[in-house]
């Protein structure tokens, strides 16, 4: 299996790439070496299903994704123009069927992404050699499949994937606790036994002399005590833990291969996390640059109309789904405009004459510098929090909507700025997913696991919660609980391996 498709790039595209790369650099974009490859749609779908990588561990969910993508393409519902992954060097894949104009647009877009990957602070801790790492993961899991049976491993991966988003996405940037010791032991199943085999080899009639029963007993007791102590030390955690996966890695009774699989799932979840955290910024930034480079340099007269068509297709908005490309590019442009004209700071904020505000012009020309700074240190949540303005919301006709369980419709709730902003931030914080913590790993002093859902106004989807709980129980081995709110009442859901229960607290 080759890791790349390593096909010679057509000369025409090669030339366009060199040209655009130089333009991008002249604007101050700074990226790892970027390798473009042209792939057909099936390959593109496969890469997309694999999260951008040419090789992943075996799992049906990639197959499901692939099936959906190829069908979507065959029926003309969707098309992936490009795919780029955060590695050094950056790999970017272009769709073979793209028109030349699209290839140029996409190349310019890709350089925006590459710059973002390299410079945005949230990507700083990611492994830039992930291409190799993913292949390693695949090799390891393949080995476990050979050794323990593909279905056993698949079932276990299913359970791990069910919990994959229970990570602490900020953890790579903060040290919350002393670095956890790597508990993964060498893969030698006999090692443990040997360590505890206290008896010396002996012939039967000599046994009571060589291995005196009282000594053996004492040693066994000591060992038990030691273990007991270890158990007691595990009365934990001192504080609620976000990184449920790490907690499981450290404390769940897993076999070595299971621990390794769980570690792989967790590694990959952490690798992909920043992409979720910066979706709006990343796409906005890339769109800003493809738009800038293409409209100023990349287009021939004949291509202008097609370009405009494709660009606006990407920027299309719809009432019930926010387009991250559109929001991102507009917000970057707005920031650039504001810092160019000086519409920020106490003086501007204090001004309450709308007319003056509208004509505000200080010719600072700080816009470009500002957006470069923004792309370096912000993520989606802080980006929206810092730069979304009431004027911007009005200009782009934003509204917030909510679910009405009477009518079973999502309805427009408000056009007021604070509400829109709040709703937007809610949706972005933790990717709009529930916050789940490990509260007690030794619940009722019976080694049962107690999680808590931090309720923020939206209840859990119950059928999913039950299934996920069952998967958690598979890893933990003992009964598991999650405290949440159901129908406005505090409730504890539990699963003990055979039965689901739901009790009001």
């Amino acid at each position: 299996m080759t890791l790349t498709f390593s096909r010679q790039l057509p000369a025409e595209i090669r030339a366009a790439q060199d040209d655009i790369e130089e333009r991008a650099r002249s604007y101050g974009l700074d990226f790892f070496k970027t390798i473009f490859e042209v792939v057909d749609y099936e390959e593109m779908s496969m890469l997309a299903a694999f999260g951008g990588f040419p090789l992943r561990y075996p799992h049906w969910r990639f197959g499901a994704e692939y099936d959906e993508l190829t069908k979507g393409y065959a029926y003309g519902l969707q098309k992936i123009y490009e795919m780029v992954i955060n590695t050094d060097p950056c790999y970017a894949y272009l769709l073979h069927a793209n028109a030349f104009l699209d290839q140029k647009l996409v190349i310019a877009h890709v350089y925006g992404h590459c710059d973002f990957f390299k410079n945005n602070a949230w990507f700083a801790p990611t492994n830039r050699k992930m291409l190799d790492e993913m292949a390693n993961h695949a090799a390891r899991i393949n080995r476990y499949c050979d050794r323990h049976g593909a279905e056993t491993v698949e079932e276990f991966i299913d359970a791990c994937l069910s919990l994959e988003d229970l990570i602490d996405a900020h953890a790579p940037h903060i040290r919350r606790s002393p670095a956890p010791a790597d508990e993964r032991r060498p893969l030698d199943p006999k090692a443990e036994e040997k360590q505890y085999d206290l008896r010396f080899p002996s012939k039967g009639y000599m046994d009571s002399f060589i291995n005196p029963p009282d000594v053996i007993e004492r040693q066994a007791k000591e060992r038990q005590q030691k273990q007991q102590q270890k158990e007691d030390n595990r009365s934990f955690p001192a504080e609620p833990v976000r990184d449920v996966l790490l907690f499981l890695l450290e404390h769940a009774p897993l076999k070595d291969w299971q621990r390794d699989v769980l570690a792989i799932v967790r590694d990959e979840a952490y690798y992909f996390a920043p992409q979720g955290q910066t979706k709006i910024m990343n796409e906005g930034w890339a769109s800003y640059w493809h738009s800038t480079i293409m409209t100023r340099h990349g287009l021939t007269d004949a291509e202008v109309v097609d370009y405009a068509d494709h660009h606006s297709g990407t920027m299309a908005t719809s009432p019930h789904r926010l387009n991250p490309y559109k929001l991102g590019i507009e917000l970057f442009r707005d920031i650039e405009e504001r810092w160019n004209t000086g519409r920020f700071g106490p003086e501007y904020d204090a001004c309450d004459d709308l007319h003056t505000k509208e004509k505000w012009q200080k010719d600072l020309g700080l816009g470009r510098d500002k957006i470069f700074e923004v792309r370096r240190i912000y993520n989606d949540v802080t980006f929206i929090d810092a730069f979304l303005t009431p004027e911007f919301c009005i200009k782009h006709k934003f509204f917030s909507f909510g679910y009405n369980d009477q009518s079973n419709y999502y309805e427009i709730v408000s056009r007021e700025f604070p509400k829109i902003k709040q709703q937007l931030l809610d949706g972005l914080t933790n990717h709009g997913r529930p916050f789940i913590y490990v509260v007690d790993g030794n619940y009722k002093n019976r080694g049962e696991l107690y999680l808590k859902h931090k309720y923020q106004g939206v209840e859990l989807k119950l059928d999913y919660a039950r299934d996920t709980l069952a998967n958690l129980q598979r890893l933990w081995g003992r009964p598991v609980y999650i405290e949440t709110i159901v129908d406005d009442k505090p409730t504890v859901l539990s699963f003990d391996g055979s039965q689901h229960e739901s009790k009001q607290k």
Partner: protein, 368 residues
């Protein structure tokens, strides 16, 4: 190039097939896939499978959108009933996937789920097809069948043993006796053919619902028999007081009124059998569906016809009685009298769509 995704796709399809198998009973009784049959494949809608996560539900959820509109205006529809009451993780989500399954595979699933035995065909010895297979070699034959490699080898062998072979100038010249030719053997393969006769009562007392039951049931019977035999011929007979042979389409659509004389249908069936399917060579199946409301005086004639002509020459005679709001349902009682004497007579009462499943099992569970 073999791609690593192929394995995942294969596994995924396998899982989907597993889902179909799990829910086969539901598909059997609802008949929702019958309208979707292509020539070889049926596509079956399967609820999407995915990996559960802790997620927010709809209640209290919302988002931000862009565009015109007043407060209170709907922007999109919710996903219907929320979970919580139903079974865990079993609700159809927003995606429905279509799985394409070949008819053969579907039949295998049916067989597996219903625990149907494979059919032991009769007439194995009487009907044979001959095929020529080029599997052997002989020393004479036309040039067009000359086996070059073998010929060359023999020539080479001969030259080497006679020391005629020059390693510097390796020329091999085959002689007449070196030549070898491909040759065929005639293989006879037993062929088993099946004929299926469907008889339906279309008298006034049969309603559309009942015809639907017949339609669904005969679809599954067809599927199974097609899997079991190389070639399956079907004939359709409808009757009220008199009987006609009709085509498939008419069979399911005709609606007539009037009395019921089942013996008329048996007569037509017997004509068809003697004309087209000599019982010694054919595996003949007869499925009769009726509401069991026969004209009283006709019953005796029917039974006689069955015992003397039909039953001895058929693999199976299946009588399915659908429950009708009008009919008396006497006929099945009459047939029960025969039941002990003939083990190829199978009776089944189908009172609703749900009963189709068991009825198929009764009909085909004998392995005949």
């Amino acid at each position: 190039m073999s791609r690593s995704i192929d394995r995942d796709v294969g596994r995924f399809k396998q899982i989907l097939r597993g889902k179909v198998r799990e829910n086969l009973r539901k598909y059997i009784t609802h008949g929702e896939m019958i309208g979707r049959t292509g020539r070889e494949l049926v596509s079956i809608p399967v609820p999407a499978i995915d990996i559960p996560h802790f997620r927010h539900g709809q209640k209290g959820s919302g988002g931000v959108g862009q565009g015109e509109g007043e407060v209170g205006q709907p922007v999109g529809k919710g996903q219907g009933e929320e979970g919580g009451k139903g079974q865990a993780g079993d609700q159809p989500g927003s995606h429905i996937r279509e799985v394409e399954i070949s008819m053969e595979e579907l039949a295998d699933m049916l067989g597996e789920v219903l625990e149907l035995p494979n059919i032991e065909p009769k007439g194995k010895d009487s009907l044979k097809s001959r095929k020529d297979k080029y599997t052997s070699i002989r020393q004479t034959g036309p040039d067009s069948l000359r086996h070059f490699k073998r010929t060359f080898k023999r020539a080479l062998k001969r030259q080497v043993t006679l020391d005629n072979y020059n390693y510097e100038n390796p020329v091999v010249i085959p002689m007449r006796e070196d030549e070898r030719f491909r040759s065929w053997k005639t293989v006879t393969e037993p062929e088993s053919n099946a004929a299926v006769l469907y008889i339906m009562d279309v008298s006034g007392s049969m309603t559309d619902d009942q015809k639907e039951i017949v339609r669904i049931e005969s679809f599954w019977i067809d599927t199974w028999l097609k899997r079991q035999y190389d070639g399956v011929q079907r004939r359709y007979i409808v009757h009220d007081a008199s009987a006609h042979e009709v085509d498939e389409d008419t069979f399911y659509r005709t609606r007539e009124s009037g009395g019921t004389r089942i013996s008329s249908a048996y007569q037509v069936a017997w004509q068809v059998i003697t004309r087209d399917f000599p019982p010694s060579d054919w595996n003949i199946y007869c499925f009769q569906f009726s509401d069991g409301d026969n004209w009283g005086e006709d019953n005796e004639g029917c039974l006689k016809f069955l015992t003397t002509d039909l039953l001895p020459s058929l693999n199976l005679f299946c009588y399915g009685q659908v429950e009708s709001p009008y009919g008396s349902g006497d006929y099945i009682r009459e047939l029960r009298k025969l039941g002990e004497k003939f083990d190829n007579l199978i009776l089944s009462e189908i009172d609703s769509k749900e009963a189709i499943y068991d009825s198929i099992k009764e009909f085909l569970g004998t392995g005949k």
